[in-house]
């Protein structure tokens, strides 16, 4: 095998951002890290994507907020979060104890909301990048509509880019006819990278009551069930843009990470699998070098887009 040291083997670059390894927990599935810090040292992670942050505190949707599906789950949390002031005072300073790039997922109902939270959050010490959540299916007004129209997505990206002091990754919705056109418009508007995919909109009924299990009726489908959709979208988008992609959707193990890289991702996020195994992120990171050996690859970054690069 090649000559890279172990730490060089897993290092990846997302534009100007260097991650010591390509694995981060996905936004909304890891809070602000506190709960998992009792399981392992968060510095082992490549980065962290924290829960969506909005200008004001949000209390989210009524319960039940989760429902199980075959090889997946639905959630309708509804962007519950303590609001940006609290995030700035309580969460971000706490995260600084770790050697850990922080991606702050931001959301809003209007362009002004997004701009305000982007402006404020991106000034904070220890914030590595913003992840612009234009794709959450669980909030009634705004939210998803930003992610389903190329022009609206591009305008929002442009406004946020104007104020942000850090790179902006735009998190795309898979619930669209043509994700490539949204990705390319967002790139033109100045996005530094893309995160994909957010959840698919889905629903489950309880046949005993005849009613939806989620109080919000529909929710976002995540987990292994959606992996083939994520791979297909990353495959298509990565061939059409020149900005890096953080891939996510059903990742459970190192083999899945390799598949996302080969489809075109430059880093990955793990969401739902944290609920199944709280140690999944460090376990996946630790098993990557052996997989690279198996695949005859020196550095994981070499895998990006290998599926379509000929």
């Amino acid at each position: 095998m090649g000559t890279a040291t172990t730490s060089e083997r897993l290092q990846v670059k997302l534009g100007d951002i260097t991650l010591k390894n390509p694995v981060m927990p996905a936004s909304g599935c890891f809070g602000f890290g506190r709960e998992y810090a009792r399981f392992y040292d968060l510095s082992r992670l490549g980065a962290i994507a924290v829960k969506a942050t909005t200008v004001e505190e949000r209390l989210g949707n009524p319960t039940p907020r989760v429902a199980e599906t075959e090889a997946g789950m639905l959630n309708a949390i509804g962007l519950q979060n303590p609001g940006m002031d609290s995030v700035i005072q309580e969460e971000l300073p706490w995260l600084q104890q770790f050697d850990l790039p922080v991606f702050v997922n931001i959301a809003g109902t209007t362009v002004e909301d997004y701009v305000e939270v982007a402006d404020t959050i991106s000034r904070q010490p220890g914030v590595t990048a913003l992840e612009l959540n234009i794709s959450c299916p669980n909030v009634k007004c705004g939210g998803i509509s930003f992610g389903t129209d190329p022009q609206i997505a591009a305008d929002l990206t442009r406004e946020v880019k104007k104020v942000s002091r850090v790179p902006v990754f735009v998190k795309l919705s898979p619930n669209v006819t043509d994700i490539v056109s949204i990705a390319t418009e967002v790139e033109k508007a100045g996005a530094d990278g893309l995160s994909m995919i957010n959840t698919l909109v889905g629903m489950r009924l309880d046949i005993r009551t005849g009613r939806p299990i989620l109080s919000n009726q529909s929710g976002g489908l995540s987990g292994p069930a959606i992996k083939p959709v994520a791979i297909r979208m990353i495959w298509e988008v990565s061939q059409s843009v020149n900005i890096p992609i953080i891939g996510m959707g059903g990742i459970q193990n190192a083999e899945d990470v390799a598949e996302f890289f080969m489809a075109g991702a430059s880093a990955v996020a793990i969401g739902t699998a944290n609920f199944v195994n709280p140690y999944v992120c460090p376990e996946v990171i630790d098993s990557l070098p052996a997989l690279l050996d198996d695949l005859g690859v020196d550095k994981i970054s070499e895998l990006t887009g290998r599926g379509w690069r000929r």
């Binding site: 989210g60 319960t63 907020r65 989760v66 959630n75 519950q80 739902t272």
Partner: protein
């Protein structure tokens, strides 16, 4: 939300493939499973739960929360009692001794018992699969010299379990909806009729209507009382915000708290602490 024992900090939860020691049907759709492993060392606080992976693949995907019903520290074994509801518990019910079950736990804040003093009287009020955690609690209370009375309710005679075990700890009143065993009616029917001696503290776990009835009966008084709640969970550790519940108006005003996470702030709350 209190941290009665500080257990949460002392004993961080872990994940372990635990070994099935026994797994047997004890009532209609009700199974008792005993599991062995090192995690048992951490299960010192009654009222906590474990988050159980049922089956090894990705269907069912999420873990299932089940209360710790008893602990045998010497044998490094704990017991859980569960009702077969859907796919997850059905898979659990088919496990054989010697097989492995992946367990995450112990999780949550259990019933506060530190302040309890010898000679006090505690009443345990349980309904259906809310009864299991009360057994371990009762054992711990009796160890402290607390007198324990149990009031437990079920649908019908076939669904009754833990009656004899609880009798070893103190008086037991059983109710069934259809009257096929014990008193016909609900646990609150026993409580209001006045048969049970006055108590210093009440601990409860069961369906929401039962807990609401308790709030109505005792919510205004200053009785010390605790209830354990259920909600569909994702992570089970406080990260995903799937399992929130509402603080009572009183709690909101006193603490500023606008929500609780049942998995990590609970599942046990003060009777007046939450709005049901």
């Amino acid at each position: 939300m209190y941290d009665p024992t500080g257990q949460e900090t002392l004993c961080p939860a872990g994940v372990e493939d635990m070994t099935v020691v026994t797994n047997e049907r004890i009532a209609e759709r009700i199974f008792r499973m005993t599991l062995a492993g090192n995690l048992v060392d951490k299960m010192v606080c009654p009222g906590q739960f474990v988050h159980v992976k049922c089956g090894s693949g990705s269907v069912p995907l999420l873990r299932r929360p089940i209360s710790i019903s008893d602990v045998d520290a010497d044998q490094q074994q704990f017991t859980m009692i569960y009702r077969v509801e859907g796919e997850g518990t059905r898979l659990l019910s088919r496990m054989h001794p010697g097989e492995q079950v992946n367990v995450l736990g112990p999780l949550g804040q259990g019933y506060p018992i530190k302040q309890r003093k010898s000679g006090e009287h505690a009443v345990l009020v349980g309904g259906g699969v809310g009864v299991p955690p009360l057994y371990y609690l009762g054992r711990k209370l009796v160890e402290k010299g607390v007198r324990v009375t149990s009031v437990i309710g079920f649908g019908s005679r076939e669904q009754v379990f833990l009656e004899n075990e609880l009798k070893e700890l103190g008086d037991v009143y059983v109710t069934t909806m259809d009257g096929s065993h014990g008193t016909r009616g609900l646990v609150t029917d026993v409580l209001t009729v006045g048969d049970v001696d006055p108590w210093d503290v009440l601990y409860s776990c069961g369906p929401i209507p039962m807990l609401k009835a308790l709030q109505e009966l005792y919510g205004k008084e200053q009785t010390e009382a605790y209830i354990s709640l259920e909600q569909r969970m994702g992570c089970g550790v406080g990260a995903c915000l799937a399992c929130v519940c509402h603080p009572s108006e009183e709690t909101r005003q006193n603490t500023g708290k606008r929500y609780f996470k049942i998995c990590s702030d609970g599942p046990v709350f003060g009777l007046r602490e939450v709005a049901l």
